[in-house]
């Protein structure tokens, strides 16, 4: 605290000091104050109140800023993820170009052979080993210069400066091994890669055109270039997504239209066919690469620097330049290339259609589900529809139809109003499971110890329809304490309760309770925290508060596997296709267990705080986790790496995210929070 001094000239600061002590301290302050009239205007309680008020206000603002900061951080993470995705895409495209270029050379060679019956003495495919690449034949060099000059002219026309050319030339030289200095990197970075990429594509076309117009003497080179341009155009036409980068498709059509003047019409008609061939050859390349150039004569192994060095025209040199940058980073992976699919949709990498790209996308918050008065403990998607049910500590469940939205005020997000509110629990609802497709039912378990079966109203229902008691199905009352977890599969229901048991139910049967699973070996049975069916509902995995994981055989009701772990478990999910169990723990870990041997296959620190939610996508490729650290994370199950992180919910007391879910069919994920909100991401 500040100690008042005679130097202080404002009575406020005096009183501020007075806050430390008692009335005496205050009166001292007053004595020190030389202007009694001024102090009359302030009263101690008034000032204290003011200070407290201000403090509270600052605290509120601070907390709001913190929320804002968290949101911005999430945004940054998202954008970075997006950038990474774009870079991967770019690398991929560059590699494809490289491959196409090589395939073109092959085609050229073949064409030449067929036409003239002799091997094409093409330096670009097989450079004479003894001849240094930097010394092409004089004729070629002249041509090279000429081509380069033309391109330069052309580029200047369209606004590309010498600087870029220099950068490019540096890169080419670097590629050729003429100069290995790293300096190339820096200028290159000043330019947008996409720009250079577009530049490269333009060069490919313009270069060819100039060659033809320039009246280069007929012969191999001429034909080569003619064919090259045509094929390039054809291939590009086929790989429309490439054009998306910067290429103007009309120009290509133009080129195609002009082709017959320079090349045979037959070729023009067969562009698609040729492109296919190119692709086929790419497949063969895989093999030729694999046997280490055994077929060298027909399919020489690509030696990028060599081939480029003696390339007669700057065209190909330019084409290679774009790709070679990446070649430095990683070796050619032709095997992968063979599997690359060709998409004819120009917008294939748009965010909207990226859904189809199965999780190459990043997820964005789209719907906010606000209507619960308290924390949302669980959520589950409808098996087929764009709908979900949430369960809350406010004792209700709500059904939401994502196709019935009201536009939200500020953001691009949408608010959804609930379609129906399920009321019957007399305490917080803790867990939820969705019935099989077409059953139109869901199950909820609550702190009141009951499990309730609900008949879902139609997604077209009006929230203000008359009350229909038929929405309430049977009630399962055997548990004697809070029901914390539910799973439904094959018409069976599995519950885990704080009463120490997990139970298996046929929920609508006259005698619904099928089995009670209890850890017989434990002296004082620990409480189950969560349970999930495994192995086509023939087994049940149950995790306990003490960290142990038990796998029960549902035929016998006996535990067939028992593993222990030091940290309390909060969730368990079984992998949809593999014998793997995934558990979430309070020690921030997610653990993967071999469901046969019980071996811990992998353990990772997944969050900054207790992990509270787990969901596997229906194909078993991705894992979604939520935590009290306020974030949702998406994991690639193969590499166990985090693909995306989303900050989704605010804290209430020390709880934040309480559940996460994948839609079984549609591209939706969702999170439920202690802040009373549920969010759906697309």
């Amino acid at each position: 605290m500040k100690i008042p001094t005679a130097m202080d000239d404002s009575s406020v600061s005096h009183h501020n000091g007075g806050q430390v002590g008692s009335q005496i301290g205050v009166s001292v302050n007053n004595k020190q104050n030389d202007e009694p009239s001024q102090s009359v205007q302030y009263s101690i309680p008034g000032i204290l109140h003011f200070i407290q008020h201000e403090w509270a206000r600052f605290e509120l603002e601070r907390s709001q800023w913190e929320v804002d900061r968290a949101e911005f951080e999430a945004r940054i993470a998202f954008l970075e993820g997006e950038r990474k995705g774009q870079e991967n895409l770019k690398n991929d495209l560059v590699r494809r170009i490289k491959m196409l270029e090589y395939a073109l050379k092959q085609e050229r060679a073949k064409f030449h052979k067929l036409k003239y019956g002799v091997e094409l003495q093409q330096g670009d495919v097989r450079p004479p080993p003894k001849e240094p690449p930097a010394e092409p034949e004089p004729a070629e060099r002249a041509q090279w210069k000429q081509g380069r000059q033309l391109i330069k002219q052309y580029l200047q026309e369209i606004g590309y400066t010498d600087t870029i050319l220099d950068v490019r030339s540096n890169r080419v030289r670097n590629l050729l091994g003429l100069n290995n200095e790293e300096q190339v990197e820096d200028p290159y970075r000043n330019y947008d890669k996409n720009e250079l990429y577009g530049l490269l594509q333009r060069e490919i076309r313009t270069g060819g055109k100039e060659q033809r117009k320039g009246g280069v003497p007929p012969g191999g080179v001429y034909n080569e270039e003619g064919l090259s341009v045509q094929e390039t155009a054809a291939v590009f036409a086929n790989f429309e997504f490439l054009a998306n980068q910067e290429m103007d498709m009309d120009e290509i059509d133009d080129l195609d239209a002009k082709q017959p003047h320079h090349a045979s019409g037959k070729q023009g008609e067969e562009v698609d066919h040729e492109a296919e061939e190119v692709l086929n050859e790419l497949n063969m390349l895989t093999e030729s690469e694999a046997d280490g150039g055994g077929q060298g004569d027909e399919y020489p192994v690509v030696k990028l620097s060599g081939s480029t060095a003696s390339q007669a025209s700057a065209v190909a040199a330019g084409a290679a330049a774009g790709g070679a940058g990446e070649a430095d980073e990683e070796p050619l992976a032709l095997g992968e290339l063979a599997q690359l699919t060709v998409s004819n949709e120009p917008e294939a990498y748009d965010v909207a259609s990226a859904n189809k790209e199965s999780f190459r996308k990043t997820w964005n918050a789209k719907y906010t589900l606000r209507s619960h008065f308290d924390g949302v403990r669980a959520l589950a998607f409808h098996p087929t529809e764009a709908a979900l049910v949430t369960a809350s500590e406010d004792h209700t469940l709500k059904l939401w139809n994502l196709q019935r939205t009201v536009p939200a005020k500020k953001s691009a997000g949408l608010d959804v109003e609930p379609l129906y509110t399920f009321r019957a629990h007399t305490a917080p609802v803790l867990c939820l499971a969705m019935g099989a497709p077409r059953s139109e039912e869901c199950f909820s378990g609550g702190l009141d110890g009951t499990i309730r079966v609900w008949n879902l109203p139609a997604p077209t229902a009006d929230p203000y329809d008359p009350y229909d008691p038929a929405v309430q199905g049977p009630v399962l009352r055997d548990h004697t304490d809070a029901v914390w977890s539910l799973a439904a599969s094959h018409g069976r229901l599995l519950s885990a309760s704080a009463d120490g048991t997990a139970r298996v139910w046929a929920p609508r049967a006259p005698r619904p309770l099928l089995a009670t699973l209890r850890d017989e070996q434990a002296a004082t049975p620990p409480a189950p925290a969560a349970a999930d069916f495994a192995d086509a509902a023939s087994r049940a995995a149950v995790v306990y508060r003490d960290g142990s994981l038990l796998l029960y055989d549902l035929e016998t009701g006996q535990a067939v596997l028992r593993v222990s772990c030091d940290s309390a478990a909060t969730r368990v999910r079984s992998h949809p296709t593999l014998p793997i169990l995934v558990t979430a723990h309070e020690d921030r870990h997610i653990r993967f267990w071999d469901a046969v041997s019980g071996r811990c296959a992998h353990a990772m620190v997944a969050h900054l705080d207790a992990v509270t939610g787990l969901a596997l996508d229906p194909n078993g490729l991705f894992l979604l986790s939520g935590s009290h650290d306020c974030s949702v994370r998406l994991w690639n199950l193969d590499t166990k790496t985090c693909v995306q992180e989303i900050t989704a919910h605010r804290k209430k007391f020390d709880e934040s995210i309480l559940d996460v879910a994948f839609h079984p069919l549609r591209p939706y994920i969702a999170s439920a929070g202690a802040d009373g909100l549920a969010k759906v991401f697309v």
Partner: protein
């Protein structure tokens, strides 16, 4: 906490019902969440639901609009409990209209044009409508500050919500009594709307719940 051990106020999966939310109180000043007021209200209710004074004692320097708003959220949330009980007894066949004393019929305001919903539907629709309104991003985008124009919306919600209490009181007395014994909700609500003058006294038709003398002063026209 003072001893330096960090208390985590969490409900861990598998914990018993009796331990739910049973953690040491957190001083209001130390709550740094945007949901601090809700936390504080719930914490005070859990400590003693009958202690209306304590529950409705607003912390100093608290924004009164937010305070009222959070209390109303809590009322609507707890009223779910009354609605659940009513669902089993209050049938559209017997309670065809929303009435308290027989003097007026309340129209359900959840519909585009106010409608004569049966009592159970009135109850559900009113609570559903209140949930939507009180969670509306348009009127209540923040839990820490509330526009004056939105605070005005609280009054009509309170008026409608009070009719649920009064219907239960006059038509399903045993349910009302059992619920009230457990929650003291109607008493708290009456105290709340009186303290902050949210509803005019003559609309509060229920007898004072502590003494048993019913108030039988007729009140004017009903409104939706």
């Amino acid at each position: 906490m003072a001893d330096g051990v960090q208390v985590l106020r969490r409900n861990r999966p598998g914990s018993k019902a009796k331990d739910f939310c049973r953690w040491p109180d957190e001083p209001f000043e130390e709550m740094d969440s945007t949901l601090a007021v809700q936390q504080f209200i719930q914490q005070t209710i859990r400590r003693d639901p009958a202690n209306l004074e304590a529950i409705l004692k607003m912390p100093e320097a608290q924004d009164e609009g937010v305070w009222k708003y959070e209390h109303l959220r809590q009322f609507c949330m707890e009223l779910n409990g009354l609605a659940v009980r009513l669902q089993s007894e209050c049938k559209p066949e017997t309670c065809t209209q929303m009435t308290a004393t027989e003097q007026w019929i309340f129209l359900c305001a959840a519909h585009k044009t106010p409608k004569e919903c049966p009592a159970i539907d009135y109850t559900r629709h009113t609570l559903d409508g209140a949930a939507c309104l009180l969670n509306s991003n348009k009127y209540f985008p923040s839990r820490v500050s509330i526009k004056e124009s939105s605070v005005a919306k609280l009054g009509s919600v309170c008026r409608r919500v009070y009719r649920i209490f009064s219907h239960a009181y006059f038509h399903h007395r045993s349910i009302f009594d059992a619920f009230e014994k457990e929650t003291h909700l109607c008493k708290r609500f009456t105290y709340f709307v009186t303290k902050y003058s949210i509803i005019s006294k003559e609309i509060l038709i229920l007898p004072k719940l502590d003494d048993e003398t019913p108030i039988t002063q007729p009140v004017g026209e009903s409104e939706a």
